[in-house]
Each structure stands twice: as C-alpha cells, then as structure tokens.
Amino acid sequence: MLSHSALCRLARESSPDTRYSPDTARRILRYGAPVGSYIEHHHHLSRCMDHLRYLVHEGNSVSTPDTGSVVWADKLSDSSGRFSRPWHAPPGGLYLALLWADTLLPEFSRQIPFAAGIACCETISSLGPSARIKWVNDLHVGDKKISGILSEAMAGPDDEWFHLIGIGINVNNTVFPEELQGKATALRIETGRCFDLEEVCSLLLARLQWNFGLLYYAEEQWMAGADRTAVAKKGPLLERWLELSDTPGRLVLYGYDVQKKPLYQAKAMDIDAIGGLIMKLADGSQVTEYSGEILYV
C-alpha cells in the first residue's frame, strides 16, 4: 500500500481541476490530506463500518483513531446497504470505510455524502467507464450499479462526533447473485481488464483527499463572505457534483425507502445550495427533498 506521503503526492498529481490556482489547489489538498493517514488492511471482515466503530470505541485505550483513518477489506461476510439491503462483497471488489471527525459546519457536513460520491465517480471514470451519479451518491455505469456508499455518524467515547463513510466498488468481481443480475456491473466487466486493487484504492483515497478538501474550501469561501446567515449558492463541490450527475432532467420516483414505498413521481430539476433535490410534480408545483432516495423512471 502507498505510504501517506505517496498518497498525498498522488492526490496532487491526479487533481484534474485546472480552475483552481496552484496555491488554492494546495490549500484544498491540505484540508483533505488526513484521508488515508492510517490504513488498516484485512483479508476478511464482517463489515468495515463495524470494525471502524470498534476501533473508535475499543480499539485503542489511549485515543480514538485519527480522522482520515481507513479500514480496507478484501471481502466482507455480513455487508449490507441502507435499510439492511444486501450488498454482495466477494473477493475482487474494493471495500473500505473512512473515519472523519465532525469538524464542518452543519451546512457543509451534510455534503460529505456528495464528496464521497464524487470521489468514487472520478475514480471509476479515470479507469475507463463513464460513471454517473444519481442523487445523492449512487454510482452507475449505463443503467447498472457499480458502487455503493453508506454514510453514518457516530459519537465517540469522549462525545466527539465522527462521520463513517463506507464505500464498495465492484472492481474485478464479475459474478453477482441472482437478484442483482442485470442490475450490477464491475470495472472488469466494463473494460475487459483486471485491475490492481491497491492501485484502485490509492486512486480512490487520492480523490477523497481532493473532494473532502474541496468541501472545506467551500466552507472557507462561505465563511469569508459578507452574509453568513444562509448558504445562498452552490459551492465548488456541488458544482462538481452537477457536472458528474445525470439526475437533473430525469423523471424519478421518490421515496424515503423508494424500493419498498415509493411516494411520488416527479421530474428532477436541480439541487439547491446545500444539495437538496429540487423536483417538479405533475401539477407544476415544486418540492425540495433533503433525504430519501430516487429511482430513475
């Protein structure tokens, strides 16, 4: 596995965004630099998120793990998505969980799931397939899911708060259970190539460094503004999300647990300044949702 300094170098070299000056890009990368400062690799875990929770609560009697710590496993035996949906995690996929201390203002910490989605999308696209993001952070190539992201928050033993971001990417795993046939894909299926998982992991962590940094940069820009009563316009992270998403303009089904209980159909129009999905209903009225999920119709 790359050393942390090599990871930071990779983040610098793989930052594709030329709209920022070298000074600004350095500042953004400094904000995101803790990502991957500690990486624990396992051949087999039940769930990366659970192991990260264990590390926070029990793993170290002296202090909690540092922000940016990563738990990475070759396979998971008890993985699951939201609402306990099954997530198939055999060898060949990339499965990791990232710990991040809650140091952002609420308006920006709620954008962490967007940062994770963008990082995954950029990683996958840099390896060949053109991935797109479905609000909030579902990753798909064509109409098939290639990556899943879970975001949770937890209180540490000293009442400090952490974000846990679980990421799974189908890389070299090409066999899926029956219920996922035709719905899931993998990098290997899309490109016909086999990938070095360590390389994919390094790329992903580098992109997480950049995008978490961009989130802090967005907060910094807002703090420097004249009016800090509300976030009035999208920051650079959400602008980047819009470039990578195919949600605006799509007809969608919306629901809190949309697979079990879709609530309504609408046309996705845009996201607001903090990432809420703006949709137009059949009667022409508009609604903005800040949680829940969508399916493309």
């Binding site: 709620r110 975001s151 949770e152 009016d227 009563t229 309504y264 800040y290």
Partner: protein, 216 residues
Amino acid sequence: MASEKIHFDEIISKYRSDPYDYVDMYAVHTGLVRFLVDDGIEVQGVSGEWNHIPGSNLYEITRERNPKVITSKTNGTVSYLNKEVEGKFVEAGTKLLTVRHPLKKKEIIEAILQEVLYLFIAPERARYYFSMDVQSRIDQKGARSIVINPGDEIITMSLMKRDTPVYYDGEAGILHSVYFSPGDSIDQGVPLLGVCPEEKLAVVQKIITRVKAEWE
C-alpha cells in the same frame, strides 16, 4: 415540566378566551423587505398530498439581487405587520409579521400537552425514524410502555443519505406523544416526542380527559 398542581380552569379559560396560535415570522436572512400582504388579510398554509403546495405569499426579501418569496406555513389572519421595515434593509431574525391561526380542539389538546410534557425537538430539518431497538419495543408493547432515559439512542436522523443517531437528553419518562411517523420530513425545532415522567402520567391524562369533555 409544569408543576403537578395544574390549574385546569385557568388553562382551559385561557384557550377559551383566545383560541389562537400566534405564529411570528422573522426575516430568514438579511435583505430588502417588501410585504405581499396587508394587515387583517387571510392567508393559507401549505397544502397538497406531500405538503408541496406553498402557502400564501407573505413577503419578499432580496439579497444581492436575488429575491426570495417567503410563504405562510399555516392558515390564519395577518394580525401584525411591521410596516416600518417595508422597503428597507433588515437583519436576519427581524420580526416582520404575525399570523393568527385559529386552533382546532385537537390542536388545543396538543398545545396544552406541549406545555406540560418534556418536548424533544428535531435538531435539523431531516427525516426521522426510531432506532431499531425502540421501534421493536413500540411494535411489541406500544409507545406508552417505553421508558426513556437521558443518553438513550432513540431516533435516527436521515439527511442526505447519512444516518445519525440522536440521543435523548431530556428528563427520564414515558414516551407519551409521538409527533411524527417514521420517515416523515420534519422541520428543525418541531417537536418529535413528548415525554412524561411516570409519576405525572395521571395528571397529564386528566388534562386530556378534561379538555375533551369540556371543549365544544
């Protein structure tokens, strides 16, 4: 939590003489204000199956040439208008107007209960559901059999596909009132739960019975 010596007559006569809720509206951010209603005008609240149809336009606030129309959350009559700020630049939080909302019997019971219960409010605008443990206990025995203590993980807040446990920080008691359905979108500051210390449950029940019996 109010004292056990609750003056029923006083509470009921208060609502009989003035059965209204006064909803104050404040500037949502700094900006130039232009009112879109007059004193005494009737306004409508949000409606529609998903609460997606906005209420009546109340005022417009413009910041950096970006106008925003603020609508009424509740139905009622405009009972106060801060006319002095019409056309002027205001700070965030400046009181602009008040909507007088006529209370229904059910709302009066809720309003009284909310004076005597410990209210646990939504920390952010998000969707909320009970933690798995609390939900299974509610399913088995009903909400009023649940005793919650400070520090208990009772609710999960879901915002932007991120789930955050919410810990109870009020006084210990019975889960008396639940003001949301799991998965509902709740605004920041709106009560989620009303908790009643066990020894005061009888008093609270008495209030409900009395209001139901006496209110036409």
